[in-house]
Amino acid sequence: MKSLYKSAAILAVLIVVALGLLSTGIHVNAAAEGKVSGTIKLEGTPPHMRPIDMSKDPTCSKQHPTPARLENVVVGPSGGLANVVVYISQGLSASAAAAVPSKPIVWDQKGCMYQPHVAGMDVGQQLQVVNSDPTTHNIHPLPQMGGGNIGWNKSQPQGSPPFTTSWKSEEVAIPVKCNIHPWMHGYMVVVKGPYGVSDTSGSFTLDNVPPGTYTLTAWHETYGTQTQKVTVAAGKPATVSFTFKAK
């Protein structure tokens, strides 16, 4: 049923675009054009993030002269909220949705933390898992049971080469953990089509958004999701900003 609506919407969009092309009569490379950018702010005082005691594994604690802290809520000096994934939840044409970036996402294990803590990625996009630590980690993504994705649990000894993999279907979000270092925790956000992840200044960008009207969704591991409508016209980048409230 849902997919029926989706395909109907996609069809409509296609027709609109097609008519537009006909009327203007100029060939427009939609994919290269549009662009959505913006910032994400956190209102109120961010919660206290506990320092992580890595004494269990000296090879980890050695790498942190001042103890690393939890990353469930990371707020920049300007109040920008990091690790928010913004993606198009509705209105994307099938062709644009199908397009997969060729550049692989790098999931690095450094200082017994995940870098990045939250990674956005496209369905089928190459995911490269790297271990830069002088210790063994096991990477253990836990997707929803019965979803399209199947979980796995692999160790990566120090010095063993990176391995690449990918996810089969959309899922927001897949928690990832390391059992050997239980504090290591992150998320993989698997979406279709363009997406952006906010940095500590809270700013994000979605590239290659074809002109059209979309529903944007912003997801944060602690504060959940927000959605906004946005219209992208050819050659005119749209800007959107989200604001989450600290509980």
Binding site: R50, D53, M54, K56, L70, N138
Partner: protein, 267 residues
Amino acid sequence: MGKILAVTIILIAVLSAVPIVMHTWVAPADVSVHGHLIDEQMAETMVEAGIAFLAGQILLGLFIWKFSDVKPGARIRNFPGGAMGLVIGAFLLVGTEVLALGVFGVKAWSEVYFTPPAANAIPIQVQAGQFAFYFRYPGADGKFGPIHPELINEGTQNLFGLDQDHDPASKDDIVTAEMAIPVNHEIHLLMHTKDVGHSFYVPALRVQQDFVPGLDVALHFTATKVGKYEIVCTQLCGLGHYNMKAYLEVMSQADFDNWLKQQAANQ
């Protein structure tokens, strides 16, 4: 050929005993009150077992030496005393030996397991999980808040599944990744596991006890020497078993109090 075998066996026996006698490889020095009982028991057993070992191998060697490749004319003789002699000998020697060991063993064992913890023993809770130990101190109120398994989340470091919004007792609980204890003060260790079987092994403390899923196990001990020691897991618990460890810091009472304050600040 037989003579070479005899020599080899005796040589192997003697060489095997050397590192034991030389104490080439020994357990970390004992820093507990009860440890010496175990060490003494160990030493006694070592002497008795060692004698049995050497005697057995040397006797075997000697007989092989003497009775291999004898001339065809020789007659078959029986061991003086025959089988009965040996059986009685075995009963007397080994029987008394194991009886002695058993009885003395009970002494050490009951010292560890059949004595109640002192009234002023410091309660510390240890939770084992794949693949780390975490410790909980009751804080000022001296009470541990209840554990809500469904709330356990390593991602937010709510390791014990505490509900600090609703359980007052949980508010001042201190959760740590290292175990610190004051020297010469008895510790009452309350053990539980959140997932599979684990074990709490501190060689220096002469302590080893399994965590049993679904069961709360208690243990009490006193450390007598300031220093940093290792707690390791000895019950196969999964791929990270080899790296499941924590440090045990034995401190002076003052240092311990400071340490607690500092940890409380980090909560």
